[in-house]
Each structure stands twice: as structure tokens, then as C-alpha cells.
């Protein structure tokens, strides 16, 4: 009762026609509610006579063959009475819900059409009432209106109303702020017409959902009132009243309380499950597909002992045949900064996640070799990984835990992995923060993330990576969320940090211009594969793959004619699930031949230090 569903679901969008999911819970809810409705219709005509048949010879009996749930003080069969009481219980709940719903909707819609002061008064009252437990409001009403079904229905209605008012208010405020209502206002449509013509039709669906849930709440609330002796009075009876009578005899024949208790519980569960299913149907997302079909990677050959990171034939697959990363190989030498470039969906971020062991659950990672500092990542302990690999993510706002102090988040690396004491760890945290040129590092360490600017936060995240002595820093679009001047500073810092610590870096970006400034070597990814790899110094002159060349061509520079539209690549990158047997870029490529869409070009050495995967590059 007191737990009238809060307006939590109002934040999600409601599609026009939510279909009920066919989960057992939803089916059970629907069946229980349907059974209740059938009982309410058919119960009284079928069992009405036996529910009222007085039998002086069978007074206050327990369970027996003739009376499975026993008899009451007049010898009436309790099973029949429970079955008959369904109609009255449901009718009362329906009445209470309608009273409460109507009052609540009117109360909630009024502020959107009334002028300021009365609107605020109503809003304030509703907000105050919502905080009150429904049962308290119901009791208050019961005192005023006296004992009996009428008082209880009114009381539960009053208890339900504030929840409806709040929901209507929230929904109406959303609709009232929308463009079409503003347009209607400008056209001089009256407030009443706006309410009935625009606001109400658009909020009807969530309100109907709330009505279903409130109906279950009202049924339980009324049962509670009757059970306390404050609701239905004899000779009328609902389930609560039957429970009230049964409870008095619970020491002698506990089974007489069983019937009404089970009926109330089942009704409550039925409405709740159905309501849950309806709410879920209204905010549902597609579920995952079938198992993945990861191919066994080919033999990786001899490992490269000098490399910081060596990846051979890395594949990341998701259920349903989606393979965002396909047979990717890359090697990073100590101190080298490698740029991994590609547009959204090319698999570059998943590559980083796979190296860090952070691919989200349904994804599976397969590789011929994945060596960090010469050792297989799978065999590395958490401590070894946590100290040799540092990660920097795109959004510095989201990378720091808002609840913890900045210094503490840095210090815990030292405390957990390096066994440093609290003071030592904090000292090192402050030192590292200073190292990334954060002004007044000691003060910054004591602050929470929200007190730092975006650039400062990204510096703090980089400092966190430097707490240990990382061999490799993976930076996944670390500058994308920052403004241009700060981007430049962060790039400089990354360069400086790698030069000083000797760590290598894998720098992931969609911006090929940034690569030119920071990296030693660049790898271009397209649809899950590396299509070209070459030293940055030769990027402008020697890029061979049509995709790389198109990326470079699309960069505006000082000489770009500003009267012409910026160059872009026609078409779009295929999704991981729609990559065919040939070259994934073939559809967008001016040089493509029949061979390109039939047969995939291998990544072969090209030029002095590069590799390229294209049939047309000779």
C-alpha cells in the first residue's frame, strides 16, 4: 500500500504500443489477473448460494472433505465465501483506483493550465502529500468518514491520488514544454484546449500503466483496511474481512485464514507481475543473439622478444556473428607511440579493450598471441597488469569516480599493487599530479573530480597511469571530449610522459591529423582490420591504401578552397555483421575491381617500412 509505485518509469520513453514480453513472469501475471476477472464475473452466480447457506450443524469447523477451508460462525462454507468475495474485493479496488486516479490526474494537470501562484500551491501540496505514507492518509479519511466500505474506498482513493498527481505533473510538464504545445500557445489556443487536445492524449499511456499498478495497490490496501476491521463490515464481506474473521481463530484452526490470505497474495502478485511486464515492455531493448563463431587463429609464428606489445591475429566476436575486430596484428617497440586510426565502429576501441582484458561480457576474445612485455596477458596477475599497463579513456568526466577524492583514486594503485603505506601512497600521488603539470597538486589531490576542469581531470587520469612504471599506455581517444587548446596540451603531455618514462603508447583516435603530431607510426583500421601501416613521417607522401589517402584528402588545411564543400568519403563503413568476403572498403573505393569484392587482400609489406592490404597497390 505504502509502496505505490514511484514515477520511476516516467524518465524512459514510452513507445506507442508496448507488447507484453512472453516471459513466464509476464504470462503468470496475465493469467492471475485474468483468473481474478473471471472469478469476479462467475464467482457469485456459481457459489453465491452456498456462500450464504447457514448450517447450524457445522459452526466454526476446521478443514474437512465437505468444507475444504472450514466454516464460519454461522456454518457457511469458507471456500465458497472466498470465491464469491472476489467480485466485491475487485469492485472496491476498482472504485478506489478510479476515485484516486481521477482526483490525482485533475490535481496533477491543473498546474499546467493555471496561472503561476495557484499552480505552485497545488504543486507544493502534492509534493507534501506524496511524502505521506498512503495508509496514514487512508486512516485519516477513515476517521472522518467512519467505518465501512465507503470510508475505506474513499481512504484508499485519497491515498492513491498524490502518486497520480505527481506522475501527471511530471508528464504534463514534459509535454507542456514541447514545441507543439508552444506552437499551439502562440496560435492562441485556450488553456483548456491545450490540456484536452495536446497534453492528455500524450500522457494517457503511462497513466493507464500506473492505473494497472495502482489497482493492485488498492486491492491490497483495502484488504488491509478490512483486515484491521476498518473496512467492509458484516454482512458484506471481502477478502480482508474474511481474513479478519479467520485471524481470530488462527490458534485453533489456522487453515481458515489460508483461503483469504492466498487470494489476497495471488491478486497482489498477479497485478504486480503484470504491471512489471507492462512497464518493461514500454522500455525494452533488443536482447542478445546466439553464440559466436570465432575462427581458430592461425599459427602466430615466432614471438618478437624486444616488443612491449605483440598482438597476432586478435579477434573480438559478439554473439550473433558480429565480429568487430578480425585477425588484427600489431607490434609496439619500447618507447614507440603507435596511432590506431579509424572511424567509429572500425573496432579500434575494442582492440584496446581486448589488450586490457576489458571486453564487455558477451564478447569473446581470441588471439594467436597477445604478449605484454613478452608475457601472455592471460597468465599475467592483476598486479602485473595493473602496474605495466595504464589506460586513459575518452571522457575524463566519466573516468574518475565522483564519490572519491582524486588523490585517493591515484594512491590506491600504489597501495594495492605496490604495498605502499597510506602516507607514502599519498605522497606519490601528489608527486605524480605535479608531474603532469597540475597546479597545486597537494590541494588537487584532496578535491573531488567535479571540482577539476576537464583538462585537469584528464591530466589526473594520466597521472594515475604513471603511479606505477607502465611499459605501455593505451589512450583511447583521450582528447576527443576536450576543447581544442586543452587537446594540444594533453597531446604534449602524453609525448612528454612517454619520453620520460620510456613507456610505449597505443594512441587510439579517429583524427588522422592528431596522429601526425604525436605518433611515430600509424595503423589505419577499417571494418575490424588493419588496412595500412606506415611511419608517420611518410604518411603524407607514401600512404598507399585508397582509404588512408581519402582520410588525408578530407583534412582541410590552410590552402583548402573554402568555397568548395569539404572533401568526404561517399558511402559508409559496413557494420561488423555485414562485412562480405572481399575488401570491406570496396563499395566506397574508386579503384575497386571485381576481385576486390570477391577476395580479401592480405596485409603485405609495402614501401620501406609499411604494410598495406589492397589489390590495386602495386
Amino acid at each position: 500500500m505504502s509502496d505505490t509505485p514511484p514515477a520511476a518509469h516516467t524518465r524512459r520513453g514510452f513507445p506507442m504500443k508496448p507488447r507484453l514480453p512472453r516471459t513466464p513472469a509476464a504470462v503468470a501475471g496475465a493469467v492471475l489477473v485474468a483468473a481474478m476477472i473471471m472469478l469476479a464475473v462467475a464467482g457469485p452466480p456459481i457459489w453465491g448460494a452456498s456462500a450464504e447457506r447457514i448450517d447450524a450443524a457445522a459452526i466454526l469447523q476446521g478443514a474437512s472433505a465437505a468444507h475444504p477451508l472450514g466454516t464460519d460462525s454461522l456454518g457457511r462454507d469458507l471456500l465458497a465465501r472466498v470465491l464469491v468475495a472476489g467480485r466485491f474485493s475487485l469492485a472496491l479496488a476498482l472504485a478506489a483506483t478510479l476515485i484516486g486516479g481521477l482526483a490525482g490526474i485533475v490535481l496533477g494537470a491543473l498546474p499546467s493550465v493555471l496561472p503561476g501562484r495557484p499552480a505552485r500551491l497545488i504543486t507544493g501540496t502534492v509534493n507534501a502529500l506524496v511524502a505521506f505514507p498512503g495508509l496514514l492518509l487512508a486512516m485519516f479519511t477513515a476517521v472522518v468518514s467512519g467505518l465501512g466500505a465507503r470510508g475505506a474506498v474513499l481512504g484508499i482513493g485519497v491515498a492513491i491520488a498524490p502518486g497520480f498527481a505527481r506522475l501527471t505533473q511530471t508528464l504534463a510538464a514534459t509535454v507542456a514544454g514541447s514545441d507543439y504545445v508552444s506552437a499551439a500557445r502562440m496560435l492562441g489556443v485556450s488553456r483548456r484546449r491545450i490540456l484536452t487536445g495536446h497534453v492528455l492524449p500524450n500522457i494517457a499511456e503511462p497513466l493507464i500503466l500506473q492505473l494497472t499498478q495502482a489497482l493492485g495497490g488498492a486491492l491490497l490496501g483495502l484488504a488491509g483496511m478490512s483486515f484491521l476491521g476498518l473496512g467492509v463490515q458484516p454482512p458484506s464481506f471481502d477478502w480482508g474481512r474474511l481474513l479478519y474473521d479467520g485471524f481470530a481463530r488462527i490458534y485453533v484452526t489456522p487453515e481458515v485464514a489460508l483461503g483469504p490470505a492466498a487470494a489476497i497474495a495471488l491478486a497482489g502478485i498477479g497485478f504486480n507481475l503484470l504491471g512489471d511486464a507492462m512497464a518493461k515492455a514500454a522500455a525494452r531493448t533488443a536482447a542478445g543473439g546466439k553464440a559466436s563463431d570465432t575462427a581458430v587463429p592461425p599459427d602466430p609464428g615466432e614471438p618478437n622478444p624486444g616488443a612491449v606489445l605483440e598482438v597476432r591475429d586478435l579477434t573480438v566476436a559478439f554473439p550473433g556473428g558480429v565480429t568487430p575486430v578480425r585477425g588484427l596484428s600489431l607490434t609496439i617497440a619500447p618507447g614507440e607511440i603507435v596511432g590506431l586510426v579509424g572511424e567509429s565502429g572500425s573496432g579500434k576501441s575494442l582492440t584496446a579493450a581486448a589488450i586490457g582484458g576489458l571486453v564487455p561480457y558477451p564478447g569473446t576474445v581470441a588471439y594467436g598471441r597477445l604478449l605484454l612485455g613478452g608475457r601472455d596477458v592471460a597468465t599475467l596477475s592483476g598486479k602485473a597488469l595493473g602496474t605495466t599497463l595504464a589506460m586513459v579513456f575518452q571522457d575524463p568526466m566519466a573516468s574518475l569516480n565522483p564519490a572519491l577524492r582524486v588523490g585517493g583514486q591515484l594512491a590506491e594503485v600504489a597501495r594495492v599493487h605496490q604495498g605502499a603505506g597510506r602516507a607514502e601512497a599519498n605522497r606519490r600521488a601528489v608527486d605524480r599530479l605535479g608531474h603532469v603539470h597540475l597546479p597545486d597538486p597537494a590541494a588537487r589531490a584532496r578535491q573531488h573530480p567535479h571540482e577539476l576542469s576537464g583538462g585537469m581531470r584528464q591530466r589526473a587520469v594520466i597521472a594515475m597511469g604513471l603511479m606505477a612504471t607502465p611499459r605501455l599506455i593505451i589512450a583511447d581517444e583521450p582528447t576527443t571530449a576536450l576543447d581544442v587548446t586543452v587537446q594540444r596540451q594533453i597531446l604534449r603531455l602524453l609525448r612528454e610522459v612517454t619520453e620520460e618514462s620510456g613507456a610505449a603508447a597505443l594512441f587510439i583516435t579517429h583524427d588522422i591529423a592528431v596522429v601526425g603530431e604525436l605518433c611515430d607510426r600509424v595503423m589505419v583500421m577499417y571494418a575490424g582490420r588493419v588496412v595500412e601501416e606506415l611511419p608517420v613521417s611518410r604518411l603524407a607522401a607514401e600512404a598507399a591504401h585508397p582509404y588512408t589517402r581519402a582520410l588525408i584528402a578530407s583534412l582541410p588545411d590552410m590552402a583548402t578552397d573554402r568555397d568548395k564543400p569539404l572533401a568526404s568519403i561517399p558511402g559508409r563503413q559496413p557494420a561488423p555483421s555485414e562485412v562480405g568476403p572481399g575488401c570491406a572498403f570496396a563499395d566506397r573505393c574508386a579503384l575497386a575491381t571485381a576481385r576486390c569484392s570477391a577476395e580479401r587482400p592480405p596485409l603485405i609489406p609495402y614501401g620501406e617500412a609499411g604494410r598495406v592490404a589492397c589489390w590495386e597497390v602495386k
Binding site: A131, P133, G146, I250, A265, G268, L358
Partner: protein, 330 residues
């Protein structure tokens, strides 16, 4: 990768400032609600159709008694006058006397309030202690749709448990553990054992509800970048979940816990009735069925005031806990 984490905390959810002005506004709102409650409890008697004294004493009561009662309640004076007297009395701690026993209502409340608060507080503590770890465990186990069986069992069991009202739990617990097994006293307040069943009956529903919230909040946290970064730092599981995830789930969970406490104070009415618990809830039911209006009026006033105090306390406590609320002067 990023595409899979669209639900991350890109939108800051703590945008409202909670500075001193916010505190003042909360306190003013509290005072206004309290005043409204006072008016409502006063008006209650006057809303009763007909003559409340007659209704209470029955048609056979001698006219002298009715007149004496009416005078004692001050119902023969003008409404504004009555309201001033009522307000003065309430402020000086005089809530009137019971029609039936002649006891001062204040004494009845003072004797019974601690029993009700004990039940509600214990149930809240039990619910939070059980539900928060349960919800977190379920979230970690079912993250990204793994262990669909667990997820399914969790949502079904909690969804069902939430839907069963506390008085049914009370009756079931009494029937099984008190009458059937004789393990606990079936009714009354006598020693620690007598607390077990009522607290349990009150806590089961809230446990299910909080566990659901806790799971949902934890799942949201697990998808955030800072938890990804914490995982990339290879923190031990306990540190990851307790230091990085838990604090961020607590705001929502504790808000609910606070609302719950006030709901439990009212919800205890039914449980007290089943267990014949000597609390306020038992008294309010008695007073309504017996038409003992001064008692009903006083108890409802006290109930309402407690709810308001608890809600204010929860708001202020959350503001104090929330790190973004601390305003530092430069």
C-alpha cells in the same frame, strides 16, 4: 566499446546545488508541512459528519454527559477560537484525553511510540543490511546479461515478494514459527525473541524492493568509465565493489531507505495488529474502531510529524553525504 556504454554517466545527475539556501528552503518547507498537518488534524474532528461526541457516545448517552464532553473538547466555541486553543495545547504538549480511559493522549503516545520506532528502525536496518549486498551480488553476477537464470530468479522472487503485503507475511510467520513450531512468541512484546517475527514481517517487502534498486544502481555503476578504469587498474574485487561502486549506489538506496523508514512507521500498523504489539499502530486501530477521537487525532498528528521529521533528516543527511554538495570558498 564506447558504443556499448552509452548508458554511462555522461549526464551528471547531481546538478542541483545543495548549499545553505537549499537547507533553509528544506527547513521552511518542513515547517509549512508541519503547520498544514496541524490544521488537518484539527479539521479532522470537524469533518466528521454529525456530532462527533454523539457519534462516540452513542444515541443512548445522557444529555449531560454529551454537553460535558462537548464543553471539555471546546466544541461549543467558535472555530477560530477552537483552533487557537488546540494549537496552544499541542505546542504545550497537551493532546487532550482519551474518551474511553480518561488517560492523557500524550502519555499513551509516550508509552507506545518507542515500541513502534523500535520495530521500524530494526526493520529498516535489517532491510538495508540484507538488501544492499544482495542487490550488488545479483548485479555483479548478472552484469551484461550473463547468468540469465540468476537474473530471472532474482527478478521473479523480488517481484513476488514486493507484491505480498506485510500483514500476510505476519500471519504466515505467526502460523508457521509461533503456532506451528513454537519457536517464537506469537504475540505481545516480551524480550528479544518477540521482536524477531514482527521485524521480519516488516522487512521482507523492503528487502525485495531495496535489493532491486541496489541491483539496478550497481549495474549502472558497473557500466561507467571510472569503474572500467578501476578494473583496468586491476583492483581486487572487494576494493572495486566496496570503494568504487558502493558509494555511488548509496544515494539512491539511502533515499529509498529513508522513504522506507517513514513508510515502515505507518506499515507497522498492520504488523502491530497481528502481533498485538503495544505500539502506536495498535492504538490507532483501536481508537478508530472505538471512535475515541482525541486519541486518533493525537496519534495521527504524531505519526505525520514523525514522517516529516524523517524525510527532512534523510534529505539533509544525503546532502551532507554527497561530495558535490560541499561548497568550498576559494
Amino acid at each position: 566499446m564506447r558504443e556499448l556504454h552509452k548508458s554511462g554517466p555522461g549526464s551528471p545527475r547531481r546538478v542541483r546545488s545543495r548549499g545553505p539556501r537549499w537547507v533553509v528552503r528544506q527547513v521552511v518547507r518542513f515547517a509549512v508541512s508541519l503547520a498544514a498537518l496541524l490544521v488537518a488534524s484539527f479539521a479532522m474532528i470537524h469533518f466528521i459528519p454529525g456530532d462527533p461526541v454523539r457519534a462516540s457516545l452513542g444515541p443512548a448517552a445522557p444529555i449531560e454527559l454529551v454537553q460535558a464532553r462537548t464543553a471539555a473538547l471546546g466544541l461549543d466555541r467558535s472555530i477560530p477560537e477552537q483552533f487557537l486553543t488546540y494549537t496552544g495545547h499541542v505546542l504545550s504538549g497537551n493532546f487532550g484525553t482519551s474518551f474511553l480511559s480518561g488517560e492523557p493522549v500524550v502519555e499513551i503516545v509516550a508509552a507506545r511510540l518507542p515500541n513502534t520506532l523500535a520495530l521500524a528502525l530494526l526493520a529498516t536496518v535489517v532491510a538495508l543490511l540484507v538488501a544492499v549486498p544482495l542487490g550488488m551480488w545479483a548485479a555483479v553476477r548478472t552484469e551484461n546479461g550473463r547468468n540469465r537464470g540468476t537474473e530471472y530468479a532474482f527478478t521473479t522472487v523480488t517481484g513476488t515478494a514486493v507484491a505480498v503485503p506485510e500483514f500476510l507475511y505476519s500471519i504466515a510467520l505467526v502460523t508457521v514459527f509461533a503456532i506451528g513450531l513454537g519457536a517464537f512468541p506469537p504475540a505481545g512484546k516480551a524480550g528479544a525473541a518477540s521482536y524477531v517475527l514482527p521485524v521480519l514481517a516488516l522487512a521482507i517487502g523492503p528487502i525485495a524492493m531495496i535489493a532491486r534498486i541496489s541491483r539496478a544502481e550497481t549495474l549502472r555503476e558497473l557500466g561507467t568509465d571510472y569503474v572500467r578504469l578501476a578494473r583496468a587498474k586491476r583492483l581486487p574485487a572487494a576494493r572495486l565493489y566496496l570503494r568504487h561502486v558502493l558509494p555511488n549506489t548509496l544515494t539512491a538506496t539511502l533515499t529509498l531507505g529513508g522513504l522506507l523508514l517513514s513508510a515502515l512507521i505507518a506499515g507497522s500498523v498492520l504488523v502491530e495488529y497481528v502481533f498485538a504489539w503495544p505500539g502506536l499502530g495498535m492504538k490507532i486501530v483501536e481508537s478508530i474502531t472505538q471512535k475515541d477521537y482525541p486519541v486518533a487525532q493525537g496519534v495521527i498528528l504524531v505519526y505525520g510529524a514523525i514522517v516529516l521529521v524523517v524525510n527532512l533528516a534523510v534529505d539533509l543527511a544525503l546532502a551532507a553525504l554527497d561530495p558535490t554538495s560541499k561548497i568550498r570558498e576559494a
